[in-house]
Amino acid sequence: MADADLVVIGAGPAGTAAARTAADAGARVIVLDEQPAAGGQIYRAVGQTTEALAAILGPDYRAGRDLVAALDHTNIRHLPGATVWRVDPDGTVCVSVAGRGRKLAGRRLLLATGALERPVPIPGWTLPGVMTAGAAQILLKTAAMVPRATVLAGSGPLLYLLAQQLVRAGRPPLALVETRLPSAWRAAWRHGPGAFRGWRTLARGAGMLAAIRRAGIPRYRGATGLAVEGAAQAEALRFTAGGREHRIPCRTVLLHQGVVPNIQITGALRLPHLWDAAQRCFRPVVDEWGGTALEMVFVAGDGAGIAGAGAAALAGRIAALQAVHGLGLIDAGARDAAAAPLRRALARERAARPLLDALYPPSPEVLRPDDATIVCRCEEVTAGEIRALAGLGCLGPNQLKAFSRAGMGPCQGRYCGLTVTELLAEATGRPPGEVGYYRLRTPLKPVTLGELADLAPPEVRA
């Protein structure tokens, strides 16, 4: 007996929008989310924010309130603080809530687990005080905390947004260090008319840049050789830009090189994935409804390929329509009629993406770091060790994992997997898609033996 018609994992834009669409069609929906409140990372704590903080975070953030409010529906059960650690192809979901393991079954599953920051392996990236730009945003959204003496470094619009928010908070960063080369613009032009629709996004970016300029924040472009110095914590960021070496003393360094799909669940389900050459990451293969090789499993949002919050909400609705159609709650005509305008809006949202991908490519230095740089944060495996093991015949990440322990720590490869793939591709002269990714294992997040034992089948007494 299923606990719900649809189990949604993740309460960000895709998950909340999907839950509401399914609920409106009469489906009983359970939304599982790890955080204490809905919204995902982009709208983290949006339901609890103060006016002062919302003013700092900006109008796009505020817009998340409606999305979160949409979960208020009699057919939706939202379980916050629920950590999903196992998903089986039969629709069984194992989850821990308040330290106890439990099992849920849905007739359909929607995976809406969003994105992770791309790993940023540079020397010193494991020092305390070095964090992702997203982490700083989370501290701002959830605790109204801002970094002291900070440098923002990397590539991508999130850096501009964060800089602008810090300016609004009256705590501008010491510098903005961009790894992007000015030539990225030339590559971006090639996307031509298709990219035209991205101008709205770019205009917003231009506004952010103007704010950064007005605040007098030094901006470096085409920076290379980024390294964080420090003994027990971050003390300075070193880099080369404009033909000169720079060293900026600081206490925090916020790194960002774009985001990539979180494929932990689709990987553990062994669904087919493909290499996205433009975004340099793996994503699950999905059809136009977000459907996968498993009839009952859908993926929507950034977890199916990075396209942003607007696209995620639309994709969530579209997937929900197909899911409720499969359950017999709406007929094909109603499904298609409801999906048509969503698809048009989704196409508009996605049109901006190739331009953004071309404008903000990840730095080659973080894709294939220097030998001395730590790649696997958990097990402290360096790029040099990985290259050496490629020389020992490791053709793929799984033999490499066995030989090096890279990917064996508690983060389960989330912050080293793509780097390992890139390094092996480089060393063996094969495309990353052929090299492949770690075979992802359960538990999706470390679970206590006690929580696991909670779900053991009853013992048969002889």
């Binding site: 501290l139 605790a143 905390m145 027990a232 925090t252 983060c411």
Partner: protein, 102 residues
């Protein structure tokens, strides 16, 4: 400790909750995660790595990287995913059973 903090609060917390880290009392804002409270307090590294003993602190703040692991009641927990509770006794995670490289 707060002068050493890499982060500052935009306004003083309305309600505070106290807990201990390595035996030292820390005042957190009600609703803080352990990671936020420990960063605000400038508590230093939250753990040392099992392989080399290197100091670590929060990296992702969203429950993905496991670099903010701390020990609460003998179990490892992610500081960024754990709300502060009054009187919580938190320790730096520093387990040495296997600290060596092969």
């Amino acid at each position: 400790m707060s002068s050493a903090s890499p982060f500052e609060r935009l306004s003083p917390p309305a309600d505070t909750v106290t807990f201990t880290f390595e035996g030292e009392t820390i005042a957190a804002a009600a609703g803080d995660t352990l990671a936020a409270a420990l960063l605000a307090a400038g508590a230093g590294p939250l753990r040392r790595t099992p392989a080399t003993g290197a100091p670590r602190g929060p990296w992702c703040m969203m429950g993905a990287c496991y670099d903010c692991l701390v020990e609460v009641d003998g179990a490892s927990v992610q500081a960024c995913m754990t709300p502060v509770r009054k009187g919580m006794a938190v320790r730096r995670l520093d387990r040495v059973a296997g600290r060596h490289r092969g």
